[in-house]
C-alpha cells in the first residue's frame, strides 16, 4: 500500500447559500511534494484553502492531514494541526501593530512558547533567508514595499519550520522580477525544510517553476491533475485553454456577451 498522503481531501463540498463553490473535490498531496492548484478566479481555490485551514467548514466530505480526519476538529486539536503548518497570504497579512521581527517570530513566541530574545535571533536568521537584512527587524511593516512584505510573510510562514506550507497567490501583485525572486525563495526554503506545499495560483509561469504536480480546478472540482512537466503535452482541453488563455473552450466564464 502506498504511503499515507500528507494532505488528502475526499469529496469535499462547500456552498454559500445556493451557490456551490466546492463540488466533490478530491485531492491528495504526498509527503514532501509541491502541488500547485491552478484555476480562474471564483473557481473555489481560496475556499479550498480555507477549508483545509479550518477557517471554513465544508458541508460534507473529509479533510485528512497525516491520515487524521480534521474536518470538524476545533479548539486545541485544531491548534495542534495548525502548529505543523505555515501560510503565506496573498497580501502577506502582516500584523501592522507589530514590528517586522515580531511578525516573523509570532508563531515561535505564541504557539511554541519561545522566549522573546531567542525568537528575535531566529527571526533575524529567517529574514536573512529571504534576503532581508537585520536593520529591517525593528521597522513597522507598513514602511515596507509590497515585495518586502511578501518576503516577511514568507519568513513568518517558515519560521517555525512547518511540515506543511500553504501559499495563496504568492506572485500576484508583484513585478515579474520580484515574482521570480519569490518563486525561487519558495522553492529553496521548502526544499531545505523538506516541507509539503500547497500553492494556489493563476500564474502559469510561477506554477511551473515551483510545482512537482499541478491540478486544475474548475467549478469546484479537479478537472485535471498531473506532473508539472506534462502540462504542455497532456492534450487535456481544459488545461490547453487555461495555459493558452483562450476565451473559447470548455471553461466558460460567467460573463455576459456584449
Amino acid at each position: 500500500m502506498a504511503e499515507t498522503p500528507k494532505i488528502e481531501l475526499r469529496n469535499v463540498c462547500k456552498s454559500f447559500g445556493k451557490k456551490v463553490i466546492l463540488d466533490n473535490l478530491n485531492l491528495s498531496i504526498a509527503k514532501g511534494e509541491s502541488l500547485v492548484v491552478i484555476g480562474g478566479s471564483g473557481t473555489g481555490k481560496s475556499v479550498m484553502l480555507k477549508c483545509i485551514l479550518g477557517l471554513l467548514k465544508p458541508e460534507s466530505g473529509e479533510i485528512l492531514i497525516d491520515g487524521e480526519d480534521i474536518t470538524n476538529s476545533s479548539g486545541h486539536r485544531r491548534e495542534q494541526v495548525l502548529r505543523k503548518t505555515g501560510m503565506l497570504f496573498q497580501y502577506a497579512a502582516l500584523f501592522d501593530s507589530l514590528t517586522v521581527w515580531e511578525n516573523v517570530a509570532f508563531g515561535l513566541i505564541q504557539a511554541h512558547g519561545m522566549k522573546r530574545k531567542e525568537a528575535k535571533d531566529i527571526a533575524i536568521q529567517k529574514l536573512a533567508l529571504v534576503g532581508l537584512g537585520p536593520e529591517l527587524a525593528d521597522k513597522r511593516t507598513a514602511e515596507l514595499s509590497v515585495g518586502m512584505q511578501k518576503r516577511v510573510g514568507l519568513a513568518r510562514a517558515i519560521a517555525a519550520e512547518p511540515e506543511i506550507i500553504f501559499f495563496d497567490e504568492p506572485t500576484t501583485g508583484l513585478d515579474p522580477i520580484m515574482g521570480d525572486v519569490i518563486d525561487n525563495l519558495i522553492r529553496d526554503c521548502t526544499q531545505d525544510l523538506g516541507a509539503t506545499t500547497l500553492t494556489i495560483s493563476h500564474d502559469m509561469e510561477s506554477a511551473q517553476k515551483i510545482a512537482d504536480r499541478i491540478a486544475l480546478l474548475y467549478k469546484g472540482s479537479v478537472v485535471w491533475a498531473g506532473l508539472a512537466s506534462e502540462i504542455h503535452t497532456c492534450g487535456d482541453p481544459y488545461v490547453e485553454q487555461f495555459v493558452h488563455g483562450d476565451v473559447d473552450g470548455p471553461i466558460k466564464l460567467d460573463i455576459l456577451k456584449p
Binding site: K50, G54, L82, G86, M87, L94, F95, G107, Q110
Partner: protein, 258 residues
C-alpha cells in the same frame, strides 16, 4: 399591501433576533476565552493603558463640566423653594449614581469602541485574523479577551476618578459662583452620601465597559468588504453601544435601587 407590511415587520424581527443570537454566541465564546488559559498579560496591560489611562482626559473633562453645570441647574431649581442646601447632595448623588457612569460610558463608546471596531475590522478584511489562526493563535484569546477584561476592569476606576472630579467641579461652581460656604457644602456632600451610591455607579461602569468593548470587537470581527465595511462596523459599534448603554442603564438602576 397589508400583507407586505406584516412581512416587513416579520423580516425585521427575524433579522433582529438572528443578530441577538449571533451576539449571544459571540459573547459566550469571548467569555470562555477570558477564563481559560493561556492569558496574554502583555496585551491586557496594553489594552488597559489604551482603554483606561488614555481615556482619563476625556472622562475627566466630561465629569468636570457635568458637575459644574449640575450645580448651577440644581441651584436654579432648588432656590425656587428655598432648598439650596440640597444642591451638594443632589450633585453628588446624581453624579455617582447616574451621570458619571453613563456619560463616561458614552464617551468611551465614541473613543474606544470605535477604535476597537476599526482596528479589528481592518484586521479582518486584510486577513490578519486568518493569519492569527494559521499561527495557532486563537483570535478570541488574542484580540477579544484582553479588550473585554480591560473594559470591565478599567471603567470603574475611570468613573471613580470622574466622580471625584465631577464633585470638585460642582464644589468650585457652588463656592466661587453661587456663594456657598465651602465647609457647609462639603458637609452636605458627604452627609447623605451612601456607599451604595458610589458602588452602584461603579457596577454600572463595569457593565458599560463590557458593552462598549464587546460591541467594538463583535462588529469589527464581523466586518466584511473593504474600507466601507470597516466604516460600517465602526458606526454600528458606536450606535449599538449607545443604545445598549441607555437601555441597560434603566434596568441596572431598577436592579440596584434596593
Amino acid at each position: 399591501m397589508d400583507r407586505n407590511f406584516l412581512a416587513t415587520i416579520g423580516r425585521v424581527f427575524i433579522s433582529f433576533m438572528a443578530a441577538v443570537g449571533r451576539i449571544a454566541i459571540f459573547t459566550g465564546q469571548a467569555l470562555r476565552h477570558c477564563v481559560i488559559p493561556p492569558y496574554y498579560l502583555r496585551l491586557l496591560g496594553k489594552q488597559m493603558m489604551d482603554i483606561g489611562y488614555y481615556s482619563l482626559p476625556v472622562v475627566g473633562m466630561t465629569a468636570l463640566f457635568t458637575g459644574m453645570v449640575l450645580a448651577l441647574q440644581i441651584y436654579v431649581g432648588s432656590s425656587r423653594f428655598n432648598a439650596e442646601s440640597a444642591v451638594a447632595t443632589i450633585v453628588v448623588i446624581g453624579l455617582t449614581r447616574e451621570l458619571a457612569p453613563v456619560l463616561s460610558g458614552l464617551m468611551i463608546a465614541g473613543r474606544v469602541g470605535a477604535a476597537i471596531a476599526a482596528e479589528i475590522g481592518t484586521m479582518r478584511v486584510t486577513e490578519q485574523i486568518d493569519a492569527l489562526v494559521t499561527l495557532s493563535t486563537n483570535p478570541f484569546k488574542y484580540l477579544v479577551a484582553p479588550r473585554l477584561i480591560a473594559g470591565l476592569v478599567t471603567l470603574p476606576f475611570l468613573v471613580l476618578i470622574g466622580d471625584i472630579i465631577g464633585v470638585s467641579g460642582g464644589f468650585l461652581v457652588a463656592t466661587e459662583k453661587l456663594g456657598f460656604n465651602a465647609g457647609n457644602y462639603l458637609n452636605n456632600t458627604f452627609e447623605f452620601l451612601e456607599m451604595r451610591d458610589v458602588v452602584s455607579g461603579l457596577i454600572k461602569a463595569s457593565v458599560f465597559g463590557f458593552i462598549v468593548t464587546l460591541m467594538g470587537c463583535y462588529h469589527g470581527f464581523n466586518s466584511t468588504g473593504g474600507a466601507q465595511g470597516v466604516g460600517k462596523a465602526t458606526t454600528n459599534a458606536v450606535v449599538s453601544s449607545f443604545v445598549l448603554i441607555l437601555i441597560s442603564d434603566y434596568f441596572l438602576t431598577v436592579l440596584l435601587i434596593d
